[in-house]
Assembly symmetry: C2
Homo-oligomer: 357 residues x 2
């Protein structure tokens, strides 16, 4: 890819901001020579940091604002503050000054601001949060991770379309398989809304990729490349899996540190154990994408460190360089007609049944 | 505890039934000298099995029926078959012939039959499925695991009450802490129904045990002794955690088997690694309890083996010996009054606000 890519960065979002952000950009600048960063935040804090991080200094332009959105601020209050670093970074995307934005700040505020300022793609009812999680068969795309606590059939179908493009763009797959998260794999399982979404997907242009219902254990098994679910379930499932991996890591540390033999065993298997730990390192999966918006918006975990923040920048660069949103737009054009027709047929059918009964 | 305890056992439920069931009872019989089993199923298959398992033969009485409920049978069809092994086993509890029932068969059918034949405890709107899962701070009780895909505030509050008694009875805790599963721990997180349940629990007689909202990663962290959620989320979360642990185990097996050094490392740390594997063994957590019913109903995992089935029998015996249902009844008497009043106050308030607005 030729030419410079400008990314707006909320310097003040995250538990360890702005130090973690600038240190993260210092790492990212080396990995992405084409990247330039519009660093939005408090100049008095950022200038000394840029003095410390040389590569970041070469690629960052500071846009000063003293305001920031706190982690406990409600979205409605965040919308009112037009001078917050997060807001100005998002404005830069809407104005075409930046190709995307990365923030480790308040998720609810970021989503609300992005919806209002950047707006959703035509044909998308509600944006979703998509992320990547490790599995036995490679990385798996999962969405929604918390943007929409309740979803109807149409939302779930749209998430499947966006998950398909995400897996093609970020994981480089040609025909990713798609599963709908449920309490069982049999057709009659789940509630009305989830069964309706399955019916629509089966008949859709991505029907051949649709693998039907999957269950919780299918996430780590990697049964499908994309897992579609509502934001409540997706958020709980992702954090549950992270918690289980963290517990296993802590228990293994005990095994290998509690005795001389254990320490010796660790030394013998060290290479592979380190490799495993790195592969499962949550920082490697940092950078959730708000998909369905007319711009690239990446949310970094609030508690991450510089290394993790650099991974979130990787994700944003991937989305931009591989023209994620244009591909979603293309995918939607192909999908929206048939899907709307199917959903309409379904609700006509429901009305007919209701009036007949 | 003195005297004999009779348990009705569905001999024909489960992927490896009836062989796995009889072999499981052979293990259980040794652990529970007071237990007698009413073994319901096909005599022609059971008699030769009992010839093979001596301890099971000494403690089992066969009640013959040729019928069984298949795994894909819908609950409504299961209700019609009055001669199925599962039905006859449940009838034995309702008739007072057995103190409880264990089945590894069709979950939906077991729940539907139990609700209709054994009935719910007075004051309980809907029974739930409760289970135990390992955490960094000991075993954690989680419910609902799939009996109710959607729940209102009242259901969640009742689950909390039953989870409290479950943790006291099975884990032997004196004042178990209780968390409500949500997408964040802040008070404004989640939907209306979950916030209403939190408000009610805070003001209830178990308010001092209520720790507020917990997130997915709190399950494995053991942040609270009891985790309350709806059946869809609980089912997905439990299976997600199981899947993550299974993945870690598979990856570790690779680390320790892929090279000579790895195998040597395993030998050095073997004792502790085996201990860890045993502690996380899903069979040890087999036996989900259908709580809120006027009898002890335990569901074993369908794919379990004899060892796992014996754990499900342990759970049933625990519930019976520690008089679980009587304690739930006592707990409810203490709780239902204040809870109903709080829910009524809340909905009066909502109505007032609605008519005012």
């Amino acid at each position: 890819m030729s030419g410079v890519v400008t990314l707006a960065v909320d310097a003040m979002g995250g538990d360890h901001a702005p130090g973690m952000v600038v240190a993260g950009l210092n790492i990212a600048a080396e990995r992405h020579p084409a990247a330039r960063f519009l660093l939005v935040g408090d100049e008095a804090k950022l200038t000394p940091l840029l003095r410390r991080y040389k590569r970041a200094a070469e690629t960052c332009t500071i846009r000063h604002t003293p305001d920031a959105i706190s982690n406990d601020m409600k979205p409605i209050a965040a919308l009112r503050n037009r001078n917050a670093s997060m807001r100005i970074a998002i404005d830069a995307v809407a104005a075409g000054e930046a190709a995307g934005v990365v923030s480790a700040g308040n998720t609810g505020a970021l989503l609300a601001l992005a919806k209002i300022v950047i707006k959703t793609l035509p044909g998308i009812d509600r944006p979703a949060i998509a992320g990547i999680t490790p599995s036995a068969r490679g990385d798996v795309v999962m969405l929604d991770l918390g943007a929409n606590l309740t979803c109807d059939a149409r939302n779930l179908v749209e998430f499947a379309v966006m998950g398909d493009v995400f897996a093609r763009t970020v994981l480089g797959l040609t025909a990713p398989s798609i599963g709908l998260l449920n309490v069982g794999s049999e057709e009659q399982k789940g509630d009305e809304r989830i069964r309706q979404a399955a019916d629509v997907l089966k008949e859709s242009p991505i029907g051949s990729q649709f693998a039907g219902f999957v269950e919780g254990h299918d996430i780590a098994a990697g049964t499908t490349d994309v897992i579609v679910t509502d934001g409540f379930t997706g958020n709980v499932a992702l954090k549950t899996a992270e918690g289980a991996v963290r517990l296993m890591n802590a228990l293994l540390r005990q095994v290998f540190s509690s005795s001389l033999l254990g320490r010796l065993a660790y030394l013998l298997a060290r290479g592979r154990l380190e490799h495993l730990r790195e592969w499962l390192d949550p920082r490697r999966y940092n950078g959730a994408v708000m998909v369905g918006l007319d711009g690239v918006v990446v949310k970094s975990h609030g508690g991450t460190d510089a290394e993790g923040f650099a991974y979130a920048v990787d994700v944003a660069m991937d989305m931009i360089v591989h023209r994620f949103n244009e591909r979603i737009r293309d995918g939607l054009v192909r999908m929206v007609g048939p899907i709307s027709a199917a959903l309409r047929r379904d609700s006509d059918e429901a009305r007919r049944l209701a009036s007949a009964g």
